[in-house]
Amino acid sequence: LTEGSERPLKPSGVRVDSDAVLVAVLRWTLAAALLACGLTACGSGHTEAAATTTVQVKEKDFRIVVTPSRARAGLVEFVVKNHGPDDHELIVVRARNAKLPMRHDGMTIDEAALEPRTVATLEPDGPGTTRRIRVQLSRGRYELFCNMAGHYMGGMHAFLVVS
């Protein structure tokens, strides 16, 4: 019934591809090195902070809360946190007066039609994750929504005004 909201599922079972094992081993052996790198990288990034507006985007079943709901035009960083319990994605589009176009199922947004005015897309991710994305936003209204099956209709959409 829905499309775009589904991703190919990994086949379950014992078969585990060797990359995963390799990655795991590497993760174990290089843990110390990564930790050290992480510590040194901690204090950087303040030079751009003044020019960037950070917008906290809180996603949960089934609501999107944008704080603040207004931002200055320019570089905007969305800090997207999924509070679950379901997986959620985030799509940011420039809003118009008309309602967003729906697919013919009448339940999900037609992303293809919105392609020209889509400014940011974050693929679905599990609860508890935080992702960041930076976009150059000009003045105007922007709509943020999750287009997984039923999520938009269930209430997961919000606006950000850039001035």
Partner: protein, 788 residues
């Protein structure tokens, strides 16, 4: 306190621990790997079921929407059943249990409760959504407003009931699938971790096993080296024989033989073995028997070593496959044993067999004689005068003499004869297969070997002689003890018979000896009990009739035998050696008496007390010291003591005779007078007589008593008196019993006289009266007549 530990335990006990650890490590890591695989496999199978049920929820939700639409439109549908299945499935997915079967589509599947941190909230959300879906569907079917149903999952739904129903179905199926996906992702992550753990475990187990194995190998090597060095540095010899001869020799064998290992292997080892022992060694090497073997081997220097080998048959031991010799050099031990044996049965001075060995050989010979009928002879040899040599020249000289004599015996006798030293100067000779005639010949040869050449000891030449007793077992059935006793009796008889000769044992000898020994025993008792007394016989100066001397004469009054004549017991005392003690008694007694009389009658010219001295007394040695001590004790002046000796003293050969003369000369120098007793019957050498210090010659009574009738005796007496005068000594005539004899002697110019005519030997009490008178009253008239 630390427990003492063994430096090197055999590997069999010490090596178990590392081996066990290796095995345990492998077993543990394998068990873990297999366990993890089994667990993850079953888990994954379970997750597949979960996924299947979750996927079915989507289908069910879509069918539920369709059924509700159909039912609302009046079609035949049963949305309630589908809704119930949806709700039950959602509950089972969350908390576990048996998933409902849908119209035979599925088998009944058992699920476990979900506890994943991500999956469980999602499944809870899915259940809420399913609940809302079912409630909304039910409201639509009942034509009730859906707005009255409060959403439980925070969803904000559109007002249109159908759209609301569809949105809820999409949400429910979407959340279910996401939950299933979360489970799968978590599962993948778990499996990755498990596989990583498995790899780590495998690698760690392998490394640990390698370390343990390395430690085991190291320990093994060290122990092997240790035991090898123990074997190679040991002085014990280890030789292993297998197929093809010797297969291993320890370093000690190489060191001893001076041969290299290559030279010793195979049959090379036999070159080092004594020719006579090669067969025994080879047999032991092939059979493993006997377990103990002593064989001789040559060392690098060509010396012979006795090796004592413990033979162990390890041919069935797969590690050895051979016969092992553990050999030890026992040369020194055997030598010591031999030496101890030799010492136990040989005389250390002469190297001759000792009494024990002689007795042993004698018994063996007698045992053989009992079977073969042959006879054996035993010679018991006692050196004459050995005691004197020992006393005068010292024990070293005595030992040298014995060694000399032993070698003479060995040279003289056959190799088959046994010469043994029984002790002191007593030797025994066993002549095997010899009769009495051969024994006599052997005794002659022995005596000749001693007599022919004097022994040179301590720079002096000593004439040798021996007394030999011969006994044969011709009578048969004799035992060694009896033979030696008989030989001893015969030897004693030979000694009594005049020394330097042999005597063959006869039964009479034993009887004679028995009597002799009986009297000797009584004499000793008599001496102890004081049964001996002294009588004194005066000697008269013929010119003045004065008593000039008193001869002390021994008397024995035995409580059992009565008065025993001196001729009887003096001879026995001479033969048994008791004369030495008797003589000492006489000397002391006479001197004491003389000293007493002298104090009683302080005459201006007291008589000289004469004491008879035996040859044995003189040759025993130390006589001069005895005389001096007696004189000192009694206070008798030396010139009032006279010693009567026989002519044999002058001719006594050997060291004893020489010493006797030396001592007499010394005493004479002190003033002691010396007389030759029984002059004329002996074998005096005039030359010796001339040089020997003599004061008086007593002419034997046999000449005196014949001088009144026989012209020959008268002539001899005259000459003897003349000889005395020529030597410037006093002549005394013994045994004067008649006036005719007295008259004749006066005619012949004799100085002094002694005899019954003047006085018989008398006890001290009578002599005291005589001394009080000063002269012989009884024959004063005769004497006066003679003078007239």
């Amino acid at each position: 306190v630390s427990r003492p530990t063994r430096a090197f335990a055999p590997l069999s006990s010490r090596g178990r621990r590392p081996v066990a650890a290796i095995l345990a490590t492998f077993a543990l890591s394998s068990a873990l790997s297999v366990g993890i695989s089994i667990w993850s496999t079953s888990h994954s199978q379970h997750q597949a079921a979960v996924f299947q049920i979750a996927a079915r929820q989507r289908t069910l939700a879509e069918r539920y929407v369709s059924e509700v639409l159909i039912a609302r439109a009046g079609g035949r549908a049963d949305p309630g059943a589908i809704g119930g299945a949806l709700e039950r499935s959602a509950a089972v997915l969350l908390d576990g249990g048996q998933a409902p079967a849908i119209a035979g589509d599925d088998d009944e599947t058992m699920l476990a409760a979900q506890h994943g941190a991500v999956a469980r909230p999602q499944l809870e959300q899915a259940r809420r959504l399913v609940h809302d879906l079912a409630a909304t569907g039910a409201a639509i079917l009942r034509h009730e407003p859906v707005a009255r149903i409060r959403p439980t999952a925070h969803e904000r739904l559109p007002a249109d009931p159908l759209l609301r129903l569809r949105v809820l179905a999409a949400l429910a199926s979407n959340v279910s699938l996401n939950a299933a996906r979360s489970i799968a992702v978590a599962d993948d992550r778990n499996i990755s971790d498990l596989i990583t753990l498995q790899v780590v475990l495998g690698v760690a187990g392998l490394l640990l096993s390698l370390v343990l194995g390395w430690a085991l190998i190291r320990t093994t090597r060290r122990q092997t080296a240790h035991f090898r060095s123990l074997v190679t540095s040991s002085t014990d010899h280890v030789i292993v024989f297998g197929r093809g001869g010797c297969r291993y020799v320890s370093g000690s064998v190489c060191r001893m033989t001076g041969l290299s290992e290559e030279e010793l292997l195979a049959s090379g080892i036999l070159d080092a073995v004594h020719r006579d022992d090669r067969d025994a060694v080879w047999a032991a090497a092939e059979t493993g028997e006997p377990h103990e073997l002593v064989f001789r081997a040559w060392d690098a220097a060509g010396a012979c070593h006795h090796l004592e080998a413990h033979v162990t048959d390890l041919r069935h031991d797969r590690q050895i496959r051979g016969v092992v010799f553990n050999a030890r050099d026992v040369t020194e031990r055997l030598r010591l044993e031999e030496e101890l044996l030799r010492q136990a049965f040989h005389d250390s001075l002469t190297g001759l067999p000792n009494r024990a060995l002689f007795r042993d050989r004698l018994e063996h010979a007698l045992a053989r004689a009992g079977r073969s009928g042959e006879t054996h002879a035993v010679l018991l040899v006692d050196l004459d005068g050995f005691k004197q040599v020992n006393d005068s020249l010292g024990h070293d000289a005595g030992d040298a003499l014995l060694t000399d004599v032993a070698s003479r015996f060995e040279e003289t006798l056959r190799a088959s004869d046994t010469v043994a030293r029984l002790g002191g100067d007593e030797f025994a000779i066993l002549l095997e297969d010899a009769d009495e005639r051969q024994a006599r010949q052997a005794a002659d040869r022995v005596l000749a070997s001693l007599r022919n050449e004097p022994a040179v000891v301590a720079g002096r030449e000593l004439g040798l002689s021996a007394s030999i007793g011969i006994v044969t077992d011709a009578g048969g059935a004799a035992c060694g003890e009896a033979l030696l006793r008989d030989a001893d009796i015969a030897m004693y008889a030979a000694k009594e018979g005049g020394r330097g000769r042999y005597e063959v044992f006869r039964a009479e000898l034993a009887r004679d000896l028995g009597e002799l020994l009986g009297i000797e025993h009584e004499l000793r008792l008599a001496l102890d009990r004081g049964e001996f007394t002294l009588h004194y016989q005066p000697t008269i100066d013929l010119a003045s009739s004065r008593v000039v001397g008193l001869e002390a004469l021994l008397r024995w009054r035995s409580p059992t035998r009565g008065n025993v004549p001196p001729a009887r017991f003096i001879a026995v005392a001479e033969r048994t050696g008791l004369i030495v003690e008797l003589g000492a008694f006489v000397l002391r007694e006479a001197c004491t008496q003389a000293a007493a009389w002298r104090r009683e009658f302080p005459d201006a010219r007291p008589p000289v007390t004469w004491v008879n001295v035996s040859v044995r007394q003189l040759t025993a040695g130390g006589f001069d010291a005895t005389v001096r001590s007696v004189l000192a004790e009694t206070g008798l002046p030396a010139d009032l003591l006279g010693l009567e000796i026989t002519e044999t003293v002058l001719v006594e050969s050997g060291s004893g005779g020489e010493r006797a003369r030396t001592e007499l000369e010394a005493l004479h120098a002190d003033g002691v007078r010396i007389a030759i007793d029984d002059f004329g019957v002996g074998f005096s050498s005039l030359g010796q007589l001339r040089h020997f210090p003599i004061d008086l010659i007593k002419v034997d009574r046999s000449f005196v008593q014949g001088s009144e009738t026989g012209t020959t005796d008268a002539t001899i007496t005259k000459n003897l008196i003349g000889l005395a005068h020529a030597l410037e000594v006093v002549a005394l005539a013994e045994g004067i019993e008649s006036h005719a004899q007295l008259h004749a002697l006066r005619e012949l110019g004799c100085d002094q006289a002694q005899g019954f005519l003047f006085a018989q030997p008398a006890p001290p009490a009578e002599i005291r009266g005589l001394l009080a008178r000063g002269s012989i009253a009884a024959d004063a008239s005769d004497a006066a007549d003679a003078v007239a």
